[in-house]
């Protein structure tokens, strides 16, 4: 899932800081996009015009279509997720490919172009890429052949192996040699052994697991069903479920953002036919819940900017053209909005 991967960023940024302090390092120059905010523009179904927009929050300057500007060719896919790991930025297109670019300038560094169906997210482990993929639809539009595709090498290449997992895998999380897979429709977290490239363990979940995050050193997974949301903590070493925190948030979508401390912003939608969308806020450790913190329609993605302490809400505006991002203070006050590319769905804070 699109998210602010705080944990991964910490992993990634700390060594960078260390390297930055070393005068003898061969540190590459800091790129234009190594700071600021990357906005995922999913694009519209049938047009496959996904892209990435960059926002410089200090000046409010927007730069659209970063991929096409850097590489002289269109991204040509629906951009499902943007993952920053191992000094590489992975653009995961659910239309069947992964593009690897340099995070600072978006210049292409590799790709996985073949043998993928509907990729959703990606994680790196042990020098390999693990790509969650719904697999092909069957005649009834179900996805019984979901898998995690494994690519040897961090710059893409060919799919070496497909590990079957439960239906509709979404987010992935790496800890050591384990890759955790949130298989949403299957209501399972499946743990892969990155060395043996095998399914190692399966954990049953109370709802559909969609997104991992780290809080106070613990691994959590966000799950939901029609009536409730569940935050399940998992022992990274024991590969077992530790505790479940349940909140009565009905009609949650799979989209959430981790705010300050233990605050989680959850997007909700009444769905067909009225589509009353909203944001609920929970503090999972203290147990507080604010339902309908915001109400509206067209909500499509959410993020939290910890530097500016602002909530970013993406509105796809019906995918007819440019979407919109609204900025809120933690108090709920709107502090601005910007028109961005088509289908804004998530954010990566650099």
């Amino acid at each position: 899932m699109i998210q602010f991967r705080k944990s991964i960023l910490t992993f990634f940024i700390l060594p960078l800081l260390f390297v930055a302090c070393n005068p003898n390092s061969d540190e590459r120059p800091r790129g234009v996009y190594d700071s600021g905010i990357l906005i995922v523009n999913e694009g519209a179904f049938g047009a496959n015009d996904g892209e990435v927009t960059h926002l410089d929050p200090s000046t409010g300057t927007l730069t659209s279509a970063l991929f096409e500007k850097a590489n002289g060719r269109p991204f040509a896919g629906l951009l499902e997720d943007l993952v920053l790991e191992e000094d590489r930025l992975y653009l995961v297109a659910n239309t069947g490919k992964v593009e690897v670019v340099q995070p600072g300038d978006f210049k292409t560094a590799g790709a996985v172009n073949k043998d993928l169906d509907q990729p959703r997210s990606l994680a790196t482990a042990r020098g390999k890429l693990f790509i969650s993929d719904y697999g092909p639809y069957d005649a009834s539009y179900n996805t019984p052949s979901s898998y995690v595709a494994v690519v040897q090498g961090l710059d893409g290449g060919v799919v070496k192996k497909k590990i079957p997992v439960s239906s509709k895998p979404e987010d992935l999380f790496t800890f050591g040699s384990y890759v955790f897979v949130a298989s949403s429709e299957g209501k399972k977290v499946e743990v892969l052994d990155a060395n043996a490239v095998l399914l190692s363990k399966t954990l049953e979940m109370p709802g559909k697991p969609v997104q991992f995050f780290e809080l106070n050193g613990d691994l959590w997974v966000f799950c939901y069903d029609a009536q409730k949301v569940y935050f399940v903590s998992i022992s990274k070493s024991g590969l077992s479920q530790k505790e479940i925190r349940t909140f009565p948030i009905a009609q949650a979508t799979g989209r959430m953002a981790l705010g300050d401390k233990d605050a989680i912003y959850v997007l909700t939608s009444s769905g067909y036919p009225e589509y009353r969308d909203g944001i609920s806020v929970v503090n999972i450790l203290s147990g507080t819940l604010v339902s309908d913190w915001k109400k509206g329609t067209g909500f499509y993605g959410i993020g939290y900017d910890s530097d500016r302490q602002q909530v970013y809400l993406a509105n796809a505006k019906g995918f007819q053209g440019n979407g919109e991002v609204l900025f809120y203070q933690k108090s709920g006050a709107e502090v601005g909005k910007l028109t961005v590319g088509r289908g804004p769905s998530g954010f990566l804070f650099r």
Binding site: A65, R73, A76, T95, K97, A111, G271, Y272, T339, G341
Partner: protein
């Protein structure tokens, strides 16, 4: 109001007149020529249709008319956009029968082969009064034209072309004074294995197109019968089947397949007594569309009665009623519907100097009346000399599109509370003609159009649902010029057309140009003929267009040129063997009509026809 006028007209024309035996015309032309005064019309010459015989109606209209055809790839879905309106805003008729899909409310022009029809006429602007539902941006009329003939005749045509294209057609004709018959069979195989630049991959490598094969076959049977001195019967059957692998967008590898099968039948009975003509029309259209494993079937029956005074002094009059019965069995819903309509047309002409027409129509569905549709038109000859003339033309009309069955019933998302889309269109124009050794025809039209309650499907969570949201204001200029002259043994013909189209969506902030509505479009052609040898060069241009609202991404304009050479001097006894060679996209342009839908580069076609 329609009925009031009808009543007045009936009284006026009730005086008895002598019986008139029908002239030997087998074409029962659409109301285009008699009641469309002031409207912009385009009628294709036989030579143009022959040149496009191995291609689709979508290709013909894209390359030779001001219509923008949204082509989703080579041989893939092609939907027309007239004057900046959407695909569903075009009425399409075959021998006077509406053949747009009743579930989708539009037609796929790529599976209407040009060789299946004898005449193609196009009308621009809202003409709901004349043509009923869906005539908002314009209408396209395909018809059978059984020429007078004694005895047997026929032709066999074989086309081979690039990327594995094979096309075979066979036509047989028989005629005598009271009977004419025509049978046509065609088969087309286009594997579409063209090479293209894969702009989604690093290095933009050349790739061979996969999964874009197209197969089509069909049978037509036409009959015209002078059943009695005052009565004619005209009947046509058309079966068409197209099987397609749906060409994936550049950068994706979808494996969708689609099979379209249509059966269309129409019978016209025409009875003329004294000066009035009665016409009874019965038709049946059944469409089946299979997309992957999903099967959709629709059918419609039509019955109409029409009374006409084609020529009563300066006046012409027509009035009629029509009922349509629809039945849809789709993968997600079933529905039936009845529609009724009554219409009337009045034409008046004074010595070819001035003519006007008034058209009126009232439509009802399923049990409710929709807004009354009037239309007015005027032709006025301002000036005439021996060789030149100048005409002023103006027309005003309303148009309407009922929400389609999918719009209302699709599960999930169908919206039963949708209102019909409504339009009004006004245009003025001048036409200058010069006859003689250097003949010239030029026409310039300015139009304004407004479409309200335009229906758009919007994503709502996991579903899409239609809403009446757009209000669009269009205006534009259409220029069309033709000329012909001789230099020694050479005959020259040149044509030039340009369209400027501004389409503003007032429901959007900033009211920018609608997506996929090029502001500029044009086409030009030159034909040179000497004895049996003919050479033609044609080109068309489509200007930049945005792929989404708000101009978030602009696709570049493109210009494509085609070359053709025909030799028709090979004859053996009564057998003629014309040979035609064409180069399409002669400059090998790499282009997309729609974003990421690749189109083929240069290709060749060789056609041999045996005509008896």
């Amino acid at each position: 109001m329609t009925f009031a006028l009808l009543f007045v007209s009936l009284i006026y024309y009730a005086s008895p007149r002598d019986t008139v035996v029908l002239a030997e015309v087998a074409v029962h032309a659409a109301a285009l020529d008699r009641f469309a005064a002031g409207q912009t019309l385009l009628t294709y010459e036989k030579s143009t249709l022959e040149r496009y015989a191995a291609r689709s109606l979508g290709d013909l209209l894209q390359e030779t008319s001001p219509i923008f055809v949204r082509q989703y790839g080579a041989g893939m879905l092609a939907s027309p956009s007239f004057r900046g309106t959407s695909a569903g805003h075009t009425a399409l008729f075959w021998n006077g029968v509406p053949i747009n899909s009743i579930s989708l409310g539009q037609a796929d022009l790529s599976i209407l082969p040009v060789q299946a029809t004898d005449r193609v006429e196009v009308q621009f602007g809202s003409a709901g009064a004349l043509f009923g539902n869906e005539a908002i941006g314009g209408s396209v009329h395909l018809s059978t034209d059984l020429q007078k003939q004694e005895g047997f005749g026929g032709d066999f045509s074989q086309t081979i072309g690039s990327f594995g294209q094979h096309q075979t057609s066979f036509a047989a004709r028989y005629g005598k004074p009271t009977l004419r018959l025509q049978s046509k069979v065609y088969n087309q195989d286009q594997p579409n294995t063209f090479r293209y630049r894969d702009i989604s991959l690093a290095g933009v490598p050349w790739e061979r197109q996969e999964h874009a094969a197209f197969k089509q076959r069909g049978i037509l049977q036409d009959l015209w019968w002078q059943a009695a001195p005052h009565a004619q019967v005209k009947a046509s059957l058309w079966w068409n089947q197209a099987q397609r692998e749906i060409q994936p967008l550049i950068g994706s590898s979808t494996q969708d397949t689609q099979e379209d099968e249509s059966f269309r039948a129409v019978v016209d009975y025409r009875y003329q007594k004294k000066s009035s003509v009665w016409k009874l029309k019965g038709a049946w259209v059944a469409d089946q569309l299979q997309f992957n494993a999903q099967e959709n079937q629709t059918s419609q029956g039509l019955l109409g009665l029409d009374w006409e005074l084609p020529s009563a002094g300066n006046w012409a009059l027509r009035a009629g009623v029509r009922g349509t019965w629809m039945n849809a069995k789709l993968s997600t819903y079933t529905a039936t519907e009845q529609r009724w309509e009554a219409y009337q047309s009045i034409g008046w002409e004074l010595e070819e100097q001035i003519s006007f027409s008034v058209n009126l129509r009232q439509l009802a569905y399923p049990n409710e009346l929709v807004p009354f549709l009037p239309g007015l038109g005027l032709n006025w000859r301002l000036f005439e000399s021996d060789r030149t003339s100048l005409h002023f033309k103006t027309a005003f009309g309303l148009g309407l599109k009922l929400p389609t069955l999918n719009d209302r019933y699709w599960e999930p998302g169908g919206n039963p509370n949708l209102r019909p889309e409504k339009s009004q269109n006004g245009e003025i124009g001048f036409q200058f003609k010069q006859a003689g050794t250097f003949s010239l025809s030029q026409r310039l039209t300015y139009y304004r159009m407004q479409v309200v309650d335009w229906i758009i499907w919007l994503p709502k969570g996991n579903f899409w649902s239609p809403e009446n949201i757009r209000e669009v204001h269009n205006q534009g200029l259409e220029y069309q010029g033709e000329s012909s002259w001789n230099t020694g043994p050479w005959t020259w013909q040149a044509n030039l057309a340009y369209t400027y189209s501004s389409t503003r969506d007032l429901a959007q902030e900033g009211s920018q140009q609608l997506p996929y509505s090029p502001k500029h479009q044009g086409n030009a052609g030159l034909q040179v003929k000497r004895n049996d040898l003919a050479f033609n060069l044609s080109s068309f241009y489509v200007g930049p267009r945005s792929i989404a609202s708000g101009n978030s991404r602009i696709l570049e304009g493109f210009a494509i040129g085609n070359l053709g050479l025909t030799y028709s001097g090979t004859k053996w006894k009564s057998l003629q063997l014309p040979l035609r060679f064409q180069i399409l996209n002669v400059f090998n342009q790499s282009y997309q009509v729609l974003y990421l839908r690749t189109m083929p580069g240069r290709s060749y076609q060789l056609n041999l026809t045996l005509t008896l």
